[in-house]
């Protein structure tokens, strides 16, 4: 294998995992943006999505398309449900209580999935299939390409949604001041539900892409993914959509780079070190806006 094609494949490796991180990071970012909650349960929603796809395809023997749709729909529903049941009663409570609730939900999802689905991993049938193609001398994986394309498309759509639609404006207003937003005629509940729906739908897409790349579903699969994606969101500037993208890709590429250099042992350490350096230089992340407090 030539050095060049090694580099190209490493780049693709990084982009593929990066785009999954980015998708998940977007969900984190959106939820954080609106209710200032580090939604620790977000990674676990992906896990549930993966199991839904598995049940559809393996237990019920349905075609992948159904699996995909069911996973996305299921995640969306779950996200909204969690918000309604666990987060909305805490609208006026201290933020840390909300955080602890999210942690509780995360534990709950992991353990209940284990009870229902068993502790071991379930092998996923292939969801997206297609033949690899060549770019010059390098073989490029079809799944990687699909993953990258789908992620980028989702992000473009999301950007449009937030910046151009009324719902998007409502989201910004609610995120700043719920009371004032209501006085503008914005339904806070609807807006927050909508945000969770979108964020969780992204998690659903993430689940599908993740399982195509790494075909297993297990109860704890979401926690590490969630943490990494969360780091990505912060690195990019939490609350910012392009930030989440940049953060996700940055972490994906960084991990690929570190592993490629044979330092994979230190991968997590390096990721966090970079995060720290970035935050120290730019305390709100790469794309984060500085919020000035007027005295």
């Amino acid at each position: 294998m030539s050095v060049f094609s090694t580099i190209v494949s490493q780049l693709f490796n990084g982009l593929q995992s990066g785009s999954i991180y980015a998708l998940v990071a977007l969900g984190y970012s959106m939820v954080y943006g609106i209710i200032m909650l580090l939604n620790f349960a977000h990674g676990d929603i992906i896990m549930v999505g993966a199991y839904i796809a598995w049940i559809m395809m393996t237990m019920l023997g349905l075609p992948p398309v159904i699996g995909i749709i069911a996973a996305i729909a299921g995640c969306t529903l779950l996200g909204v449900l969690i918000e309604k049941a666990a987060y909305s009663p805490l609208r006026k409570s201290p933020r840390l209580s909300l955080l602890i609730t999210a942690i509780g939900i995360s534990f709950f999802l992991e353990n209940i999935s284990q009870l229902i689905m068993g502790a071991g991993a379930k092998a996923m049938p292939s969801i997206i299939s297609g033949s690899n193609f060549r770019l010059g001398t390098t073989e490029i994986s079809f799944v990687s390409t699909v993953t990258i394309v789908v992620s980028v498309l989702s992000m473009v759509l999301l950007t449009f949604l937030v910046q151009k639609t009324k719902m998007g404006k409502g989201m910004r207003a609610v995120s700043e001041d719920m009371g004032a937003a209501q006085l503008m005629g914005i339904s806070v509940n609807k807006t927050i539900s909508f945000t969770f729906a979108v964020g969780s739908a992204l998690a659903g897409i993430g689940a599908v892409l993740y399982c195509s790349a790494y075909p297993q579903a297990s109860p704890t699969m979401g926690s590490m993914l969630g943490l990494k994606a969360f780091v990505a969101a912060v690195l990019g500037g939490i609350g910012s959509i392009p930030g989440a993208m940049i953060g996700g890709f940055a972490i994906g590429l960084l991990e690929a780079l570190v592993s490629a250099l044979g330092l994979s042992v230190w991968k997590d350490g390096v990721v966090f070190a970079i995060l720290i350096v970035v935050l120290l230089v730019k305390p709100t992340g790469i794309m984060g806006r500085v919020i000035k407090e007027k005295v």
């Binding site: 404006k169 207003a173 001041d177 004032a180 006085l183 005629g185 000035k292 007027k294």
Partner: protein, 232 residues
């Protein structure tokens, strides 16, 4: 246009509003005055749906809005400029104004221009992030934003607070103008002198109860009021 019927409002165990009733007729300016902590802001918040009364009811424009959620109250044509302004600090001036027109399908340029002629200062600062505006600028923005929804009834909570004298005058003349152009106004003021000046009628709120009411002039003449609220 607005009838408040014997409402009781609680903050947890605190009984903040104890059976308040009053009404605002179409085309009026009604002032609600009272000392610190009398419950003026609470009344406004209850009307606009941010708080729920335990008992009593509120009728706006012939419709019972007691149980209506805040965002629906706005859609019914009632705007509330809250205490402490509550503008969107991280949005620019223009974005704040656009937010005011959220219930409208589009933001009309005319309306914007209209606001800018009322408050030229806002035009100068249109691209500035609202959080860095001075206190007075923020107050103008809050009023401007509420006007963007073209309300039938506008409730103002201490609009003159922190404003320069010249602006206080301006704000009150804007209030009168608005009223002349057909907007009904419910005004809460600490600056009782000015408020009674422009108001057709006024109510005095003391620790959760309405203790006095009458036309603006009547109250301005009243000894009690002079002593308690006009400083002399």
């Amino acid at each position: 246009m607005l009838t408040v019927n014997d409402i009781n409002v609680y903050y947890g165990p605190i009984h903040a509003i104890k059976g308040v009733s009053f009404e605002v007729r179409p085309g009026e300016i009604v002032a609600l005055i009272g000392a610190n902590g009398a419950g003026k802001s609470t009344v406004l918040k209850t009307i606009s749906g941010l708080l729920r009364p335990k008992t009593g009811n509120i009728v706006f424009d012939g419709r019972d809005i007691t149980k209506l959620e805040a965002h629906k109250v706005v859609r019914a044509g009632l705007a509330h400029v809250p205490e402490g302004r509550r503008i969107f600090l991280q949005m620019t001036v223009i974005e704040n104004l656009e937010m005011g027109a959220f219930t409208k399908s589009t933001v009309s340029e005319e309306d914007l221009e209209d606001i800018f002629t009322k408050f030229p200062r806002l035009k100068e600062r249109r691209k500035q992030v609202a959080g860095t505006l001075s206190g007075g600028e923020q107050q103008m923005l809050a009023m401007g934003r509420a006007l963007m929804s073209k309300p039938k009834l506008m409730m103002l909570d201490e609009p003159s607070m922190g404003l320069a004298p010249i602006l206080v005058e301006q704000v009150f003349s804007i209030i009168t103008e608005l009223n002349k152009a057909g907007t009904t106004i419910l005004l809460v003021e600490q600056n009782a002198g000015m408020a009674l000046d422009v108001a057709h009628r006024a109510y005095v709120l003391e620790t959760g109860n309405i203790t006095l009411s009458g036309t603006g002039e009547e109250l301005a003449q009243s000894d009690e009021i002079r002593k308690a609220y006009l400083g002399g």
